[in-house]
């Protein structure tokens, strides 16, 4: 011990310590705790804990209004489910509906009024106050504009019929040049042709899908979220046959009983071909039909002359469907009865033109489908509520009816129809110098990206909303989407915004809160004591007459109840005109020829037919649940934005690889796309996908305005863009 303590001694102590450590818990506990630590990293999210309870409400993502049952932890919904055997939709919910409770936390959510700063290809936001926006609008309203430069103060509402829509109209009626517009791209718009044939505007019609054995669908994505999605699914489950007339091998076409891939733009020709067979082979019941039209004989004669040219041989040449098959389909329509013909729309490709719609809906008349008890049934309208019944309302206009460069101030309502809306459709109606575009939206997504200012609106399940009947509903229905939680602090209800604006410019405000307006509307429905109310808690239908008080009726509705009207026994008078009231035969035929001519011919600069496609609700418009990536990005089950599908044998692409980046060129511009060879695409056609708004889903910090296929589609004056001549790559 006398020697100095040296380096070797330290080594020995350390050695002893290391040897000793093996006999202590240190290494063993550390190794254990470290591995447990990997289960418990601070960045792994932890679900809420708490009491599990259930609440009922209605989904407001699209106009279908599907009832939902929310499973909550405390007050926070953690999942949404359909309500089994619900009379409205049989308990089905679409994939978007399943993510409805995510939308409040969407990465693109706005929580404060903002000004949008547009830079090249990208946008950023600056916080502003609501008062700033209001004073800007007031200035624009007050400034004296000459009609030449455009002076309309417009409100764009793509889901008319809601209480808020009436509030908009009442507001607009009070201010000079106030105009209420819809884009006319909703599925409801595909019904216009039917109303033209029936010569009625105030009478609503719906479909008795449950009764149909066969549905001939012209472009309607029946199994992908058409109408109230659950109804069609249910009908399909019960064996309803689907004949899909559509150029694209869509999901519906893939599983339909027959896929009839007509050349793009020839759907109406195909319909007239079917009419030709129906009439010439005497497959229609003329005696029965003659009751439905005042001057039936004349109409029929006229119609016969018109379709005489559309012989199966001619139609086969035009559409690409074999002559014999056309006959077979027509016969099937009268054997597998009752059969319904539906004119729909591919969510991204735009509606059919008025004439095409008339040609297609006309088949229903020949099949005797119209009228109470048939497949296309009249239904009552839902009253607007006491506060609007005596107020002056602005009339409903379609945006394509307005002259170009006429809108000075455009306010956009957040609720979208779920269908694609090309921005040019709106842009060309705005004045050239400094139009003011204000969006009332919870998100920086879809059309809001093009606005100048955004008023943050409440989103799904944050405020009371009402649900007018879906366009396909066979009776009137009404439901109220009850909120699950309160919106964030700076969020402003659109009606509240209107009230502030009204106060500022000194016009009359609406009475009470938005919930009160909805309550008034329910009171009016209750007054009539018609129909039933479905109570989701116990699955019972109660007769409205059996509900004791209006307050009770309201409380049922506010807890997920669904009011369903009685079927209408008798329709208002209608007088069928097979070319539509406002159309004579000449202009009808001319319009069809026009469409015919627009089909691209080979050996021109633009030899291909460009047809966009998408999925209802996900066509780059509003936000959807971030989990939609399960069907797009993570599986490619559905095609993402700017994916171009062509047949490998479509001429001139021998240089292209599958998956290559290339450009699509049309008259309106060009767009970068990724090519995908697909041998079920019609040769000569190129389909380009519109997918979800990827930036907003994945929460990318820098929001880009990405050009999509709609920006190169050529927009017709009638508001359609179904087909555009195009070419691929640089020549």
């Amino acid at each position: 011990m006398s020697k100095r303590f040296n380096r070797r001694d330290v080594m020995k102590i350390v050695g002893g310590g290391i040897a000793g450590m093996v006999f202590t818990p240190i290494p063993w506990k550390l190794i254990d705790d470290l591995s447990i630590w990997t289960q418990n990293w601070s960045w792994i999210p932890v679900p809420l804990k708490g009491d599990i309870n259930y609440k009922y409400s209605i989904c407001t993502i699209c106009s279908a209004g599907c009832p939902v049952r929310a499973r909550n932890v405390g007050t926070q919904p953690v999942s949404l489910w359909g309500i089994k055997n619900h009379p409205v939709n049989n308990g089905a919910l679409c994939p978007l509906g399943f993510g409805g409770h995510h939308l409040a936390f969407h990465p693109a959510r706005l929580r404060h009024p903002v000004k949008i700063v547009h830079e090249k290809n990208k946008i950023s936001t600056e916080k502003v106050s609501c008062a700033d926006i209001i004073s800007l609008i007031r200035k624009n309203i007050e400034s004296k504009q000459t009609p030449q430069t455009g002076n309309l103060i417009a409100m764009l509402d793509d889901r008319p019929g809601r209480t808020v829509s009436y509030a908009y109209r009442a507001f607009l009626a009070q201010i000079p040049n106030g105009t209420y517009i819809t884009t006319g791209t909703d599925e409801t718009d595909s019904m216009q042709g039917l109303y033209e044939i029936l010569g009625t505007e105030n009478q609503e019609y719906g479909f008795n899908i449950e009764k149909a054995r066969t549905i001939v669908s012209f472009g309607a994505p029946l199994l992908e979220g058409w109408g109230i999605p659950g109804r069609m699914m249910h009908a399909r489950k019960n064996g309803c046959r689907i004949l899909q007339v559509e150029t694209r091998f869509s999901h519906t076409a893939s599983v339909a009983d027959r896929w009839l891939p007509v050349k793009p733009g020839t759907e109406a020709v195909f319909a007239l071909g079917l009419a030709n067979v129906l009439i010439n082979e005497n497959l229609i019941d003329t005696d029965k039909l003659s009751y439905q039209s005042a001057n039936f004989d004349k109409e029929l004669k006229n119609y016969k002359e018109c379709i005489a040219g559309y012989t199966p041989a001619y139609v086969a040449g035009r559409t690409g469907i074999k002559e014999e098959l056309i006959r077979e389909i027509a016969r099937e329509m009268t054997t597998e009865t009752p059969s319904l013909v539906i004119c729909g729309r591919e969510p991204a490709a735009g509606p059919f033109s008025r004439e095409e719609q008339i040609a297609i809906w006309g088949l229903n008349f020949l099949l005797g489908n119209i009228g109470p008890g048939n497949l296309i049934v009249p239904r009552r309208s839902v009253p607007a509520g006491a506060s609007f019944s005596e107020t002056k309302l602005a009339s409903v206009k379609k945006i394509s009816d307005l002259p170009d460069h006429s809108i000075r101030v455009l306010m956009i309502d957040e609720a979208e129809s779920g269908h694609a809306i090309p921005w040019q459709l709106i842009e060309r109606k705005l004045v050239a110098d400094n139009p003011l575009v204000i969006s009332m939206s919870p998100y920086l997504a879809g059309m809001t990206k093009r606005a100048d200012y955004v008023i943050p609106a409440p989103t799904q399940y944050e405020s009371c909303q009402d649900i007018p009947p879906s366009f396909d509903s066979q009776t009137a229905t009404y439901a109220v989407s009850a909120p699950f939680y309160t919106p964030p602090e700076n969020v402003i209800q659109p009606t509240e915004f209107l009230n502030r604006l009204a106060e500022d410019i000194g016009i009359e405000k609406t009475n009470g809160s938005y919930t009160d307006m909805i309550k008034e509307r329910t009171a009016e429905i209750y007054e009539k004591k018609r129909g039933w109310i479905y109570i989701p808690h116990n699955g019972r239908l109660i007769e409205t007459a059996d509900v004791f008080t209006g307050q009770q009726f309201w409380s049922h509705l506010n807890n997920g109840g669904y009011w369903i009207d009685e079927p209408l026994e008798q329709a208002d008078n209608y007088s069928i005109s097979l070319f539509g009231i406002s159309h004579d035969r000449g202009s009808f035929e001319k319009a069809l020829r026009q469409i015919d001519k627009s089909y691209p011919s080979e050996n021109t600069t633009y030899p291909l037919a460009l047809v966009p496609f998408g999925w209802r609700g996900v066509v780059d418009s509003g936000p959807v649940t971030p989990l939609i990536t399960k069907l797009y990005q993570e599986t490619e089950f559905r095609k993402g934005t700017n994916r171009a599908l062509i047949h490998p044998e479509t001429g001139g692409f021998s240089r292209l690889r599958d998956g290559a980046q290339t450009t699509i060129v049309t008259d309106s511009g060009e767009l970068q796309v990724r090519i995908e060879f697909n041998d079920s695409v019609m040769p000569g056609v190129v389909h380009v996908a519109l997918g979800p708004d990827q930036d907003s889903i994945t929460g990318v910090k820098e929001v880009r305005i990405k050009e999509n296929i709609l920006s190169v589609c050529s927009l017709k004056d009638n508001g359609t863009w179904r087909m555009t001549p195009a070419r691929i790559g640089t020549v």
Binding site: I44, P77, L631
Partner: protein, 262 residues
């Protein structure tokens, strides 16, 4: 493995859950995928996630008949863990993170025991196992919508469909509070079965001759995908169309490859 022995011993007592997918009914709406993701706390994709690195326990395929336009037909095939009785992934897992559950017959994957060697993924012929290539990230606030019955996974582990066993646990607790040890047929069904709008999916106890599924399995149009591999899946598919059968299953020799989209 002692657990496997237990399964065979106790077979009479415990249910053996399975599923039947009716391919003729499926319309490819994709609801099951989303309902599964919501139920089982699967994270949304990160910006660079692809269809090869995503996490889709319930995955939809669009399978083509191989004929070009205009004769193309397609069928939608929901593909998820086939819950094999002769479980390829179980035999290979080095640390018992996979188990054939003795109570239910579910092939259970315990992510906390998994160290991410991915050997099971190489072993699975159905491509139904998913690795967490990324940290689980939800948009801010959206983690509040997580299902409390399912624990979120961390990066670096494998996960897969487990017939929503969180629902099974809940159902058992409910039954226990009523004094029952066994579950009634409709008390426990996975999220995908509950949400399917066309009732293409049927779930139940394969060993209970009275159950709906046991009757379905007797149907001559029932088959197992890659049944010849001998992995004995408990998920059955059904179709009456022969081309669907040929495109989905390798029951005959095919020299021509079927093309696939989706």
């Amino acid at each position: 493995m002692n657990n496997r022995n237990k399964v065979t011993q106790d077979n009479q007592k415990h249910p053996r859950y399975g599923m039947v997918v009716d391919l003729d009914k499926c319309t490819g709406c994709g609801t099951c995928s989303l309902a599964c993701a919501v139920e089982n706390n699967q994270q949304p994709a990160t910006p660079d996630m692809t269809n090869r690195t995503g996490n889709t326990w319930m995955r939809m395929y669009k399978v083509h008949n191989g004929k070009p336009f205009p004769d193309s037909r397609a069928v939608f095939v929901p593909m998820f863990c086939q819950q094999c009785d002769d479980t390829p992934c179980l035999y290979v897992c080095p640390q018992n993170a996979v188990e054939l559950d003795p109570m239910t017959g579910i092939v259970a994957q315990i992510p906390e025991r998994c160290f991410g060697c991915r050997y099971c993924m190489a072993a699975c012929p159905y491509e139904s196992r998913y690795f967490n290539w990324w940290d689980p990230v939800w948009p801010e606030g959206m983690e509040k919508t997580l299902n409390p019955d399912v624990s979120p996974r961390m990066r670096g582990v494998v996960e897969k469909c487990n017939f929503c066993h969180g629902r099974w646990q809940r159902a058992r607790a409910k039954a226990a509070s009523e004094g029952r040890r066994e579950l009634r047929e409709d008390e426990y069904i996975p999220a995908c079965v509950e949400c399917c709008p066309t009732e293409a999916l049927t779930f139940g106890n394969l060993d209970d001759p009275k159950s709906k599924i046991a009757k379905l399995v007797d149907d001559p149009n029932i088959f197992k995908i890659l049944g010849r591999l001998g992995t004995k899946p408990k998920v059955y598919y059904r179709t009456t169309r022969s081309w669907v059968r040929n495109a989905v299953d390798r029951n005959i020799y095919s020299e021509t490859k079927e093309t696939v989209h989706g």
